[in-house]
């Protein structure tokens, strides 16, 4: 079993979906958006964070019950 910030499947943890490449993670809350991005080593300029179907800013507090999408906004051009 993994320990630390990312844990194995647990219904009490926040579900986080990353795009490009698609990846699903279980993350313990509560945590702020900017902390989540920092821990995942993601540049805020390249991503949007969506809770349910609402965009959230970097200071938003994310809870265990939240379903989060971290969407890459970069395309090959």
């Amino acid at each position: 079993m993994q320990t630390g910030f990312f844990r194995s499947y647990d219904t009490s943890r926040m579900k986080v979906m990353l795009t490009n490449p698609r990846k699903e993670l279980e993350v313990p809350g509560p945590t702020r958006v900017h902390q989540l991005l920092q821990r995942l080593n993601l540049t805020p300029e390249a991503y949007l964070v969506i809770r349910g179907d609402e965009l959230v800013t970097e200071d938003a507090m994310l809870q265990d019950s939240d379903s989060i999408e971290i969407r890459s906004v970069i395309s090959g051009g």
Partner: protein, 311 residues
Amino acid sequence: MRCRKCSHPAVIKMPRHNIALCKDCLTEFVHTQVRRAIDAHRMFTTNDRVLVAVSGGKDSLALWSILLKLGYHADALYVDLGIGEYSLQSRQKVQRFTEAVATSYQATLHVHTVEQEQGAGIRELATLVRRPTCATCGTMKRYQFNRVAIEQHYDVMATGHNLDDEAARLLGNVLHWQTDYLDKQSPTLPASLDGFAKKVKPLHRLTEREIAAYAVIHHIDYIVDECPMAKGSKMLAYKRVLNQLEADSPGTKHTFYLKFLDRQAKQRQEDSQTITEQDQHRLHPCETCGQPTSTTVCTYCKMMAKAGSHA
């Protein structure tokens, strides 16, 4: 976080402008930037017929949506490249957007299917002509968008290139000192001679993140997955570097590209030849298809002849 303009809850923080905006103020910001780009670079007016190049991605669908909302006559062209599941999904996104949004503005979607018209998908064509897939795709799209714009008598062709695309392209051109390509980075390229459609980039003042946020808040259902052919592309590498610089110093991309445009505009005033005059001097009709080219036969016709001889 609160909106800097109206104090409603913000949906996006934009460090390059040192502001955060709510849904309504972000919409107003995006529309203002697009209008400003269209007017400042004399792209088109509400009397013109615009052909938008759509791919199913955020930029092109957002552009089509914005132009319709702002009252422009905008139709669209989708080129189905035949890249398996990716093309199936992106085509579906474009068709759904057309049915849900564009038809209510009496806008039309044109579709060009490469497999049907050219006999093979883009990957197969690239293998046949021994060129990288992205280069083959670029040639195909440029050719088909220009052809449809001319044949269907559109006044101008609009693409969804954004600030990140243009800054990354500028970085690539400067890193390789490809100075000949710098002129082509203008947000408006004139219809300099017969067979050439005028080309414009109304989103060049907006970042990818701002456009993606606009698409999300307006429920524009776009293809989020990256084209499988773009893996390892240099453009992606340049964008990563620029985003790192942007994180350390907000406004870097904006300053890099928009200051380049300012310098370019000043340089043009001093140049003896305009882009139109340069094109007229350099280009002539392709012997095979008639589209403008600097050689006897254009790249597209050479590519198709090579593909035909290997098929």
